[in-house]
């Protein structure tokens, strides 16, 4: 009973929040509703017994990814409404086609399901976090380290891409030097 109520409540909340994200013309509303939707998504992970994944969802998505988007939006004029002109009649055909295909696949999934054996079965004696740790650091150690290297490369790449012209430290310069630099910059942009 509890699970059914929670499932439908959070399903309604996530679908409405993500719809706001997709259909609004204000990028600030889009960002806030996306963050809210991410938090509601974590409720499904807790319902499904994947507590560690739920915590990761809150920490990584709402903590890191949303903060990064909020930081990035400072560079764009985020308060002005987004102007878009779209005339695409093929969109409806494409979406209905793909969605009907996926719905058919979902309803035939139980037929395929009967032939599947669990590769790494869930151990009921251990908690979810403990189990995730055991599998992640034994069976999935190499992909885990590749993911770590990928995150490092992405971090350095992001800093280099976003932080061009950061070789001059303004805190170490005097007022006159800063004025001279700004004048030089203005003349270069002309």
């Amino acid at each position: 009973m509890f699970e059914i109520v929670a499932f439908y409540l959070f399903a309604f909340l996530t679908v409405s929040m993500f719809s706001i994200t997709v259909f609004t013309n204000n990028s600030l509303y889009a960002l806030s509703s996306l963050a809210a939707g991410m938090i509601f998504i974590s409720a499904f992970f807790f319902l499904l017994g994947a507590e560690f994944l739920g915590a990761v969802q809150i920490v990584v998505y709402t903590g890191a990814v949303m903060a990064l988007y909020a930081f990035g939006m400072m560079f764009f004029d985020s308060l002005s409404t987004v102007k878009e002109n779209i005339k695409n009649p093929r969109l409806v055909f494409l979406l209905t086609g793909i969605s009907s295909l996926i719905v058919v696949l979902i309803f035939t999934a139980p037929i395929i399901e009967s032939n599947i054996n669990a590769h790494y079965p869930v151990n009921t004696e251990l908690g979810n976090s403990q189990q995730v740790g055991i599998i992640l650091f034994t069976k999935y150690l190499v992909p885990f380290e590749i993911a770590a290297v990928m995150l490092l490369v992405a971090m350095i790449g992001g800093i280099i891409l976003a932080g061009k012209k950061m070789n001059v430290s303004y805190t170490e310069l005097s007022e006159e030097q800063i004025d001279a630099l700004e004048k030089e910059e203005k003349e270069r942009n002309k």
Binding site: T21, M38, I41, V82, I106
Partner: protein, 99 residues
């Protein structure tokens, strides 16, 4: 709840994200839509993991979270560069990259 309920929810969220990818012209909104799609797939993977009693689905969801985080870092850096260059993050300004 059955596996189908979770999978249908995942599909609905995926279509919302896909509609966003196909409909929006603002690159930041496109990024938001891809995040929605990645999240919906994570829900599906966790649901299959629960009902098949197999932890592999959760592992894949973790790697998807890692990929999404690095995608945001690189993508946002490129977006800031593009905005500095063109003064707009509309998808139509990318037409100049056409070969």
């Amino acid at each position: 709840m059955s596996l189908n309920a979770y999978l249908i929810l995942s599909a609905i969220l995926f279509f919302i994200g896909m509609l966003g990818v196909l409909r929006r012209k603002n690159l930041l909104m496109l990024f938001f839509s891809t995040e929605i799609m990645l999240n919906s797939v994570n829900v599906g993977l966790a649901a299959v993991s629960k009902f098949q009693e197999d932890i592999t689905g959760q592992m894949f969801a973790f790697f998807i979270v890692a990929v999404a985080a690095s995608e945001v870092a690189i993508g946002l850096g490129l977006l800031i560069l593009w905005y500095k260059k063109k003064g707009s993050i509309n998808l139509d300004t990318l037409q100049s990259m056409k070969g």
